[in-house]
């Protein structure tokens, strides 16, 4: 993944991690609402990070 792509992902994550809980999920008093949403976003980022790391290959 290029740095520009990772930068875009960071921007999208910033918008999603603040925007959705403050507009849609914030009033729902259930564990599957904001709590689960933030956890899923974090897991998604970890997966993206791992995919990027798979490309690292020191061939020297």
């Amino acid at each position: 993944m290029k740095i520009r792509t990772l930068g875009m992902i960071a921007l999208i994550m910033a918008i999603l991690s603040v925007g959705v809980p403050y507009t849609i999920l914030g009033d729902i008093g259930r564990i599957w609402a904001s709590y689960l949403y933030w956890t899923i976003l974090t897991v998604l980022t970890i997966v993206i990070g791992f995919i990027h790391l798979r490309g690292w290959d020191d061939k020297r």
């Binding site: 603040v18 259930r30 564990i31 970890i46 791992f50």
Partner: protein, 500 residues
Amino acid sequence: MNPIYIGAALTIWFFIGVVIAYMARKHLGKGMPEFFLANRKLGGFISGMTYSATTFSAFMMVGLVGLTYSTGVGAVGFEMIYIIFTILLLVIFAPRFWVAGKKYDIITPPELMAKRYNSRWVGIVSSIICLIMLIPYASVQMMGVGFLIEGMTSTSLPSFQIFGVTVSGLYLIGVLLVAGFSGISAFWAGMRSVSWTDAFQAIIMLGASVILVIFVFYHFFGGPAGFVTEISTEQSHLLELNWDLSMFIGLTLPWAFFALTNPQVSQRMFVSDSVKSIKQMIIYFSIFALVYTIITTLLGLSIAGTGLTVTDPDRAMPVLLGNVPVLLALVVFVSIFAAATSTLSSVTLTLSSLGSRDLVKKVKPSISEKLEVYSGKIIIVIILLSCIVFANLRLDMIAVLSSMASGGLLVMAPTIIGSFFWKRSTTEGALSSMVVGGIITSFLYLAGEAYYPLGWWPSFWGLIVTVSIFVGVSLMTEPPDGTEKFLDEVEEGVEEYGMV
């Protein structure tokens, strides 16, 4: 709880820690890179664990648990956003820090900025900002253990007055214990002993928290399903997002850039021995961070569901530990002690490297490496003494204090990002943005909430001011000599090592 139990648990802990530090000392070589970076020879597992143990402090099991208990799910978002950004920042910046560190023999993050901006003043200013902002953060580690010992013991020791400040006996013992253990770990063998003890402490932190959350679920709620039912019905207000947006942004912004702006963690991007080890460091940290955050926030919600009486959010965990079996409480107590000492020893060691490398060395360039290490050791003692004094002032809530420290460090973010990704960034832009941004942010924090413009927090305004000045001044001035060469060499190195 009987203080003798706590004393016995800490004695065992102390013994193990000293043995690990002693073993690390036997491997200690000579020179600055050896003392402060373990000669850039840490493997993936130790790199990952020292990164995790340094990042996650007493704040997690005391401050974050208390914050979730009192304010609900907003605390989860605050911490999860930290993890999201840390992972992204690590995959982008760790290769560049690592390559630049090896190529130019850089030991501290301010030294990296001084190299890129071709100005010792950039290094000096950023070191001073780190020293000022990290003293409260380091003190918070001591406060966490102080509160914990006070809250867990049934006995009380007399309080006394020093220079008009009332000092509680038990609290002071907690503060001194953390300071003593961290001091030994950092002083004895530098990064090697700190990272080895960190690895051991990280395992204890995670293991103890897993056992505690399982016990709490089954003992108080009859199982995880019972917990979810209880929390969704009786405590559903905690699952609604009731953090004011300005508070959420104000606390989260500094946390999002923590991996870059806090030198005790960014310095760890220099220590790995290979590309494989950096990869492993990021992977281990990601998993550790997710699991530890889920557990601590679930514990915060659980305490609300148990109906235990808690008078102050920072005492939520001590109250919980007073209601679980003694052995479990002791293991968790030791794990929190471990979290505090691992963070404190790393902060202390990093600040001492900043003091000796970026201040003493810059004032007296002819100083020998031996004297440089020696001055670093003296700085370790001075920092710990300053923290002890600060911790005994017992200011405000742990979570807010921690974030305030990171809020002050946030003013370095544009300069660090510009170091690698904006050719037009200049020395004048870096210096003016850090100085003016630092003054405005500190002034707003000290002035208090009544003076926050439009109700938005200092970190928010600080970042806006810092970015505006950094960009504006850089566009009006010329990049320093060697900018192109620095950027080309770093990018070539990243490509050569296959980290693209």
